[in-house]
């Protein structure tokens, strides 16, 4: 049975059709990346999986159970910086546990370990304003992992970071993932990021978002930066790029027209 299953999901906002018949099965422990041009509905798909947006048609299943609201089985890392500025690193990280009333010695111990895992031990009492962008995103990841979700869902978590920090965070994420082996659904604009991280790359087409193709990435793990110079890696990137190239051009042009 698939860990996360998206069945015939469609969604419109008024007359704007955003998602059309999305079907996707994600296996346990799998790392799946979604790429697609801006505005094709990636965030909307994610919010639907989160249960804070309801699909017009279709179902989302976690472990075979249909979901209709947010739950501790899914952990989220958002596109925007969404830490609570009035909470310290520690208070931010335990937010999900607090909401579901699951704070006890054991979960606290687990959370402390988690903060060490993401490299933030010793920063528990810092406020988000005292952290760098990379550190803030680590807190975001820790906050999502603290509820011990079945599936970790990340919406362009590194898009606000500079190129070097971004690369480091990619490695960090792989390291964290290899330790916990969660199922991960990862959205990104950057094709090489998708290929570097994922077992499969799902390519979404321009709005209305549809799945154009799913590209399995057959590269050995654990992966290091060096792999990005590998011919096979470059071939994968080219392949994904060729799949979305026209769409990206079109969507940029469309946005420009809409502006005029």
């Amino acid at each position: 049975m698939a860990k996360l299953e998206i069945v015939n999901v469609s969604k419109s906002f008024g007359s704007l059709e955003v998602l059309r018949d999305i079907n996707l099965r994600i296996e346990d422990h799998e790392f799946v990346a979604i790429v697609g041009p801006s505005g094709c509905g990636k965030t909307t798909l994610l919010r639907t999986i989160a249960g804070i947006e309801t699909p017009d048609r279709g179902t989302i299943l976690v472990d075979g159970r249909a979901i209709d609201k947010p739950g501790a089985d899914r952990g989220f890392v958002f596109q925007q910086d969404s830490l609570f500025p009035w909470r310290t690193v520690w208070q931010n990280t335990i937010f999900g546990l607090e909401i579901s009333g699951r704070i006890d010695e054991e979960t606290k111990k687990r959370t402390r370990e988690l903060l060490r895992l993401v490299g933030l031990a010793g920063f528990e009492n810092y406020y988000p304003t005292q952290l760098s962008g990379g550190m803030r995103q680590r807190v975001n990841i820790a906050r999502a992992l603290a509820i011990n979700p079945e599936v970790l869902i990340m919406d362009e978590p590194f898009s606000a970071l500079d190129a070097q920090t971004r690369e480091v965070m990619q490695l960090e994420l792989l390291r964290i993932w290899l330790q916990g082996r969660k199922t991960v659904l990862f959205i990104t604009h950057q094709i090489d990021e998708a290929v570097f991280l994922a077992d499969r790359v799902v390519v979404l087409g321009r709005r209305p978002g549809r799945i154009k193709e799913i590209v399995p990435i057959d590269l050995p793990r654990p992966r290091e930066f060096g792999i990005k110079r590998d011919l096979q890696f470059i071939a994968y990137v080219d392949r994904v790029w060729s799949l979305i190239e026209n769409d990206v051009h079109d969507s940029v042009r469309e946005d420009a027209v809409a502006l005029n």
């Binding site: 989220f76 009035w86 528990e124 005292q130």
Partner: protein, 272 residues
């Protein structure tokens, strides 16, 4: 957690250095001002009907304190102020909350709040005194109608300004509406509420004195009119000085409250 102390030290040391420097500048400024005042009072404006010197004012304050008069007046004003401001805070936050969270609330209170916020409500204090007598409550009411509007408006604005992404994040963790209010909307509104409180304190202080001018048996405003009627300049200035000091102390208290409630706003920028 203990090991974060090190990182904390740096801004604090810097801030105390800057604070020392700026506070010595302030001290100089105040001492200089007092000296000029004293000089003018002694040598330039000889007529004691127009000006009292700082030394006379200090003497007067000591005298008032000794006879127990000062205590009576401060106590009377303090009562009126505290009762009025407390009610304004509680009621103001409550009304602001109702306005932010229900459409009907907004429609019912909105027009009144907008209309009355900009009105100098202190002008109707004679009317209030006429209706409610010259006791504590009439002055408390004047404080309420002056202090409540900044509380309402800022609470309402603060609750509305809550970042949508933060609400979404909380929802993704399964937060209920009530939890979102307590853990997201309310904390993010606190800076606004405190800004409103600052305004409310200032307005409330003015309200107490003005209301007392129009009719009272005790209080700093009363002390002020009494002194003015008999041209007792040292006493008049004593009342003014006490009010000024009260204003400074209250502002400092709100500043303390801010630091206590919003520690995250002060980390890393303490040198300001």
């Amino acid at each position: 957690m203990a090991d974060k102390q090190g990182g904390d030290d740096i801004p604090r040391r810097k801030s105390s250095f800057l604070a020392k420097r700026s506070s010595s500048a302030s001290a100089l400024s105040i001492i200089g001002g007092l000296a000029i005042w004293e000089f003018c009072g002694r040598f330039l404006v000889k007529n004691s009907l127009f000006l009292a010197t700082p030394s006379q004012v200090v003497e007067e304050i000591i005298e008032l304190a000794r006879t127990g008069e000062l205590g009576i007046h401060v106590w009377a004003s303090a009562q009126e102020f505290v009762i009025g401001l407390s009610i304004a805070i509680v009621l103001g936050i409550a009304i602001g909350f109702v306005m932010a969270s229900s459409r009907i609330g907004e429609q019912v209170f909105g027009p009144w709040v907008t209309a009355l916020y900009a009105t100098p409500t202190v002008a109707i204090s004679p009317l209030i005194i006429l209706w409610a007598g010259i006791g504590v409550w009439s002055k408390a009411i004047v404080v309420i109608i002056n202090s409540i509007f900044p509380m309402i408006i800022n609470t309402d604005a603060g609750l509305r300004a809550t970042d949508k992404h933060l609400i979404d994040a909380a929802r993704c963790f399964g937060a209920s509406r009530l939890q979102i209010f307590w853990k997201v909307s309310l904390p993010s509104a606190i800076p606004f509420v405190l800004a409103g409180l600052k305004l409310a304190v200032g307005r409330g202080l003015v309200a107490v004195v003005v209301a007392e001018l129009f009719g009272s048996r005790a209080g700093l405003g009363y002390l002020l009119v009494q002194a003015a009627e008999v041209f007792n300049m040292p006493r008049l200035f004593a009342a003014v000085v006490i009010l000024a000091v009260t204003g400074i102390v209250l502002t400092a208290l709100v500043g303390r409250l801010e630091r206590f409630l919003l520690p995250w706003r002060f980390v890393g920028q303490e040198s300001k």
